[in-house]
Amino acid sequence: MRNDHITALLEENRFGALSLDDVSMIESHAADCSQCRKAYEASLIAGDLLKARVAETIEPSPFFKTRVMAALRERQREAEMPALARLWKAAGAIVSLMIVIVVILSALALFGSSPQPEIEAVDSPSSLNSLTAERVLFDDDSQVAGDNLTVSQVLETIFASEDADGSY
């Protein structure tokens, strides 16, 4: 049966720092109690693990002092910099990139667009009459019917207008 007095002793004292009386009391109890024995063993191992861990120390390298002083000077320089310069240092890259993009877009707008070709008057059947292909096809107005166009005239008008704007 687990003895709460023993586990409390283990938790109240530093790992591995029990008095001799406590140790002999725990050991005599632990001989017959596997739970307390496990807890006692675990606390001894925990103490040794902690000792092993704190025995590991990293020493400062010979360059550490130089490194700290360089970092300190850098921070002081930054602190002394005027606010605008600090802002530029922080956002300079983004602002520069934006300026470059604006210049490129302006250049493209100025020089990239080709002049509009002049539209020559085409002497085609579509220019001869006022009916465009769309009007012939979609306009329900009876005016079309009233013009008395033949089928061949209608088709000629459609193909002539397709040829003229070349969009099909």
Binding site: F15, I45, D48, V68, A71
Partner: protein, 217 residues
């Protein structure tokens, strides 16, 4: 020649200056005085940081931040306690913050025990009632194992156990280093011991389960 001797004299003066003199000169912007502070106290700051971190670059980074913060806050040092104590407090809090911001702790310490770690536990258990060998305690295997177990604890538990049971500092010293009350240190230590003991019990259980599996195969 005269400049050289003046420089040498100043350097000697700084090397032998008291803690308060150095602080007061550093406050006035004397770089050499602050350089001497870094030289004098960096072993202590490294010692504190390496209790919690094993990677040299992390330890150096933390130590550098500690000195930069100390420089910024030199004016707040009133000279009532020792400068080393004041610096240790900055270092301890910096480590605690770093532990808190580190990624989530693993759920269990028992996964992935190496053969060397199992051997260390075996040897240690067989030797538990006899006088234990210091050499084996200080081995890198034990330190790896310790890191595994400590990694499962909360930053506060880890801090209090490392300083109180590992480094054997007093409750009062830890209270000064962390800014906690002495009763908080005691309560934290009591709970942390229970959690660490249970983590080691888990470790031992997994070791014996592993051994049983090995025997079966």
């Amino acid at each position: 020649m005269a400049a050289f001797s003046t420089g040498a004299r100043l350097a000697t003066e700084i090397t032998h200056a008291s803690e308060l003199e150095l602080v007061s000169r550093a406050r006035e912007g004397d770089e050499a005085a602050f350089e001497e502070i870094v030289r004098r106290y960096s072993p202590r700051v490294f010692q504190i940081a390496s209790r919690f971190f094993r990677n040299r670059s992390i330890v150096e980074e933390i130590a550098q931040e500690v000195f930069l913060k100390a420089f910024r806050e030199l004016r707040s040092f009133e000279g009532r306690g020792s400068f080393e104590g004041w610096l240790s407090r900055i270092a301890t809090n910096r480590c605690l913050n770093e532990l808190r911001s580190a990624k989530r702790r693993p759920e269990s310490p028992v996964a992935d025990l190496t053969d060397e770690q199992v051997d260390w536990l075996d040897n240690h258990l067989s030797d538990i009632s006899a006088a234990r060998h210091q050499a084996s305690v200080e081995s890198a295997v034990a330190a790896d194992l310790a890191e595994k177990v400590l990694g499962t604890l909360s930053p506060d538990d880890r801090l209090v156990l490392t300083l109180l049971d590992g480094e054997e500092l007093s409750v009062k010293e830890i209270a000064a280093m962390t800014g906690w009350s002495e009763s908080k240190v005691k309560v934290q230590a009591f709970r942390a011991r229970r959690r660490m003991r249970k983590a080691v019990e888990e470790l031992l259980k997994s070791r014996s389960q592993g051994e049983r599996r090995k025997t079966k195969t």
